[in-house]
Symmetry: C2
Subunit: 273 residues, 2 copies
């Protein structure tokens, strides 16, 4: 099943735009898990079990696994394997390299780890992206305007063809004729989101930055939805994962994800009226 089919299914079934970001920070894990053989894996397996009927997708963030070496890789693979087959997984990796190398990153994501989509950095241009587009059941989420303050340094530069993030959105529409892709737009830039949605009416948009980074839910929904009232993945990581550090962490995570789901849906309902 393709990424897009899994996403559409999950949005419908769980009535949700919540993407649960999996950023397992060893310094923030519940203490009672620290004695288990692989605390990250134990933690995330419980998080997934507690949110699988609330999420429209999961987004493991490679950095947090990579920082733990072999144990981190095992936790990443174990977590991916614990996510139900019909829920889409976006590997957050920001991959970007020359074609020959990009092929190996695509193989790592799609064949070795078995995810459904991957975040891709478009700085190196077409041939760095093509190996990801070749996976017709996947989806390459291309960085467009990221959630961090520093995004202005480069992504907002004015070019001969408009602001760089606008150029990247245009390019993504062009690249999407070759293979499935989407955009990454920080929820911290809700006003720019309407410009980007106008450039790319049909691309799925991954929106990080809602929870700990403070993005605004209402404007995100208003400006982000496509003409079918869908097409967004609103990611929250820390605000869900670390809602509690006690033995009730999974239940607290479920509550945080459910609250976000309801806030997003309520903003959508208000728009329809």
């Amino acid at each position: 099943m393709s990424f897009l089919a899994k996403y559409d299914n999950a949005v419908q079934r769980n009535d949700s735009f919540v993407c649960v970001g999996l950023d397992p920070d060893m310094t923030k894990l519940p203490e009672h898990l620290l004695g288990t053989p692989n605390p990250m894996r134990a933690f995330l397996t419980d998080i997934v079990a507690a949110t699988r009927d609330i999420a429209c997708a999961y987004k493991p963030n490679f950095a947090f696994f990579g920082a733990q070496g072999l144990a981190g890789w095992e936790a990443l693979q174990g977590t991916i394997d614990a996510i139900p087959q019909d829920l889409p997984i976006v590997l957050d990796f920001k991959a970007g390299d020359i074609g020959n190398t990009a092929e190996h990153y695509a193989a790592m994501a799609y064949r070795q780890l078995g995810v459904d989509a991957v975040t891709v950095n478009p700085l190196m241009g077409t041939d760095a992206i093509a190996p990801f587009l070749a996976y017709q059941n996947g989806c390459a989420f291309l960085l467009c305007l990221t959630s961090n303050p520093g995004s202005a340094d480069v992504l907002r530069l004015n070019t001969e063809r408009g602001a760089l993030y606008e150029v990247l959105a245009q390019q993504a529409v062009h690249w999407s004729q070759t293979g499935p892709c989407g955009l990454v737009v920080g929820a911290t830039h809700p006003d720019d989101l309407s410009t980007i949605r106008a450039i790319a009416p049909d691309l799925p948009i991954l929106l990080p930055g809602i929870g700990a980074q403070g993005g605004e839910i209402r404007t995100v929904i208003q400006n982000g939805l496509n003409r079918n009232g869908s097409g967004i993945l609103v990611n929250a990581s820390r605000s869900i994962l670390y809602a509690s550090r006690g033995a009730d962490f999974a239940e607290a995570a479920r509550q945080a994800a459910e609250t976000l789901r309801q806030m997003l849906n309520s903003a959508r309902e208000k728009m329809r009226k």
Copy 2:
């Protein structure tokens, strides 16, 4: 010992600007190694032993290890451990993410794997780079103008402050006031290299694209060296690693690295006259 001290030492001792790129492609390894417990690791350990008195640095390319999962991670760690302590290692990862995540990528590179430098994608701006600059003994090689044809798509866009790659070179000079950084410039763009060297006279420049990608040695030396006649790492991967697929692969790799070393040094000598 810092990256820069190791680099300066190695350039002097081995009289070399050759950076040996470690891109272990499972489909190209010598057949007699395929039956060993970890063929990648066996292959690269021999490559390192055969070139350690010729190289000024090693550059493992994460994609090729990542595509092999756990075995790949073990090969990467084993290879890093097999490289002599006084030779610098650049992890080619093209890392780039928001600050909180970038901290974990920096920890993966510098603490978990124990490398001396890392390639970094600057698209996301200052706060995505700062966690790498915080390692004062490391070096963040920032993408400037990459070796691939697609580099023109984005990196050559004209902005309000010049071509994007020029802006990135200027930014790198600015960022280098905070912590050690360098630039990645494809050896396939020797003419642009003089522009970049003029903008960043003191930054080390990593130059991929000489071997399989066809960069020109003479112009690279002419335009790339700093005022001390140093400051470049000329990377070759495939042309060294796969010089032979037979039992003599390590000796053939040594010969290929030695030939490149001599060509670079001979171009430098001609410049001096």
